[in-house]
């Protein structure tokens, strides 16, 4: 193990420029992936905040007994799609309308009879805020005899669905493309490092080194380069995030950074690419010499 570590570190000492270039290349390749990840994460967060506003409102017939509504509320709350059911009485609806609909404040103030019906506001759980599930919940609500009307902004939810699908498709395609480009760039970089040490590999074989012995330091070296490249990418990404946030603070106050889990995943991805790229490059080299 000590020998393995020593041999790996010797590679850094022997070709510091090439090692640094490898790390920088890996770093920038992963930086591009991370930047894309940052955009994807923020897009997802934005979509999620829009999704939170998906709500089904069931307007109740006047005179529906409170016990009936309470029982039905419990029933509805037990739907798998439903997160929360809130009863809004007629009076509360009027109060809310007076508070929120400022332009109609005068009209509402002069009312002698409350024209607004009581309602059940139903929030949906994460993952159920799409057109299909919303329509299903709305249909079930219509089945209650005391429900007069159900509204959930069908068109708006369908548009949200479309946006979500486009975001997922584009995200996946561009993400894969970025990752593929990163893998190719990193693979080429590591291949150059292996070729640069072809003479040393030949000497190692000459004195009876097994392929496993030759491979070991390269794999560790590749993993270390991947680790440093990954950390560089995290640093660059954070720098860019801070710079961007500082430049357009107001407009982008909602921008979030990658979670520690995603950052760790990025670094692990770097280590795996470094390790895998080295395994492929040195393996191919050993087969061909």
């Amino acid at each position: 193990m000590r020998l393995l570590l020593r041999e790996s570190l010797i590679a850094f000492r022997r070709a510091p420029l090439l090692s640094a270039l490898s790390i920088i290349t890996i770093g920038f390749a992963l930086y591009a992936v991370s930047l894309f990840g940052l955009v994807a994460v923020n897009l997802r967060a934005a979509l999620h905040s829009v999704e939170q506003r998906v709500e089904v409102v069931a307007y109740l017939l006047r005179g529906t007994p409170a016990e009936t509504v309470a029982l039905a509320s419990q029933d509805i709350a037990a739907f798998p799609e439903v997160k929360r059911v809130t009863f809004v009485s007629e009076d509360e609806a009027l109060r809310l309308a007076r508070r929120e609909l400022v332009e109609f404040r005068d009209a509402y103030r002069d009312l002698t009879v409350n024209p607004l019906p009581a309602s059940l506001e139903i929030e949906l759980r994460d993952g159920y805020q799409d057109a299909e599930h919303t329509a299903a919940v709305a249909d079930r609500l219509r089945g209650y005899g005391f429900v007069d009307d159900v509204r959930y902004g069908r068109e708006w939810i369908e548009n949200l669905d479309r946006l979500r699908n486009i975001a997922a498709l584009v995200g996946l395609s561009i993400g894969i493309a970025f990752a593929a480009v990163a893998i190719v760039i990193i693979g080429v970089t590591i291949r150059i490092a292996v070729l640069q040490r072809a003479r040393e590999i030949a000497i190692m074989r000459l004195v009876g080194a097994t392929n496993g012995f030759i491979r070991g330091p390269f794999l560790l070296e590749g993993a270390l380069k991947g680790l440093f490249g990954g950390l560089l990418a995290v640093g660059l990404c954070y720098g860019t995030y801070q710079l961007f946030r500082g430049q357009v603070a107001l407009a982008t106050s909602g921008i979030i950074f990658l979670s520690p889990r995603l950052l760790a995943l990025g670094v692990v991805f770097g280590i795996l690419i470094g390790f895998g790229g080295s395994a492929v490059s040195v393996g191919r080299h050993l087969r061909n010499v």
Binding site: L3, I10, R13, R14, R199, E200, A202, I203, M204, R205, L206, V207, G208, A209, T210, N211, F213
Partner: protein, 229 residues
């Protein structure tokens, strides 16, 4: 120790060896001579398992080279010492580290490495320059380091491919004397050379190659002769 039976080796550009048969016994010293392209290096490459024969049978220290697997190759190499004209030392390691490296790859215990390295460096006359880097050594000294590296695993056979090709006359004499001493201690030596003066100085067995065929073998009858000058 080494046995070639009707061995051929073809490359895309032509035949390098044509039905070569020879036998080198334990402890023997054999010169391989001939012009460039005659097949000397091909024979040596077959001996250390760098290439496989196209036809015939090559046996080296119990290994069948035609069937040598990637797993067996390191095991074969550890029984051989190999020296080249261009030394093939690692430039960023000292003489001592270069020699130790050959032991480290075999998984030798770390506490045994240093004494064994110093023993062979003393044997080749370079104990005082153990901490010198290759570029700080003369050509002859670099070749001695390469020989020390070849010897450190106590090989049964020393393969030397033009070991004096890059050396001046004085260094050539020193290195050749060293190789003779190694042979005298019981190690079989197969040495390819262009230097006919070296060959004439001794009465070691000489195999001359031309166009991939053996055209002369001074020890064909008794391959164990040739200990004396």
């Amino acid at each position: 120790m080494i046995r070639f039976s009707r061995v051929s080796k073809d490359y895309p550009k032509g035949a390098a060896l044509r039905e070569v048969s020879l036998h080198v016994a334990k402890g023997e010293f054999v010169f391989l001579t001939g012009h460039s392209g005659a097949g000397k290096s091909t024979i040596l490459k077959l001996v250390y398992g760098e290439i496989h024969p196209t036809g015939g049978d090559v046996r080296v220290s119990g290994f069948n080279i035609a069937e040598l697997s990637p797993r067996d190759r390191p095991r074969l190499r550890r029984r051989l010492g190999i020296v080249f004209q261009d030394f093939r030392l690692l430039d960023d390691r000292t003489a001592e580290e270069n020699v130790a490296f050959a032991l480290e790859v075999t998984g030798a215990r770390s506490e045994t490495i240093s004494p064994r390295v110093m023993r062979v460096l003393t044997q080749v006359g370079l104990a005082a320059k153990a901490h010198a880097y290759p570029q700080e050594l003369s050509g002859g000294e670099q070749q001695r380091v390469a020989i020390a590296r070849a010897l450190v695993n106590d090989p049964a056979i020393l393969i030397a491919d033009e070991p004096t090709g890059n050396l001046d006359e004085r260094a050539t004499r020193g290195v050749f004397q060293l190789i003779r001493e190694i042979n005298a201690s019981g190690t079989c030596v197969v040495m390819a050379t262009h230097d006919l003066d070296l060959v004439r100085q001794t009465s070691y067995r000489t195999i001359e190659l031309r166009d991939g065929s053996v055209v002369f073998d001074s020890g064909a009858e008794d391959s164990r002769q040739g200990e004396t000058e």
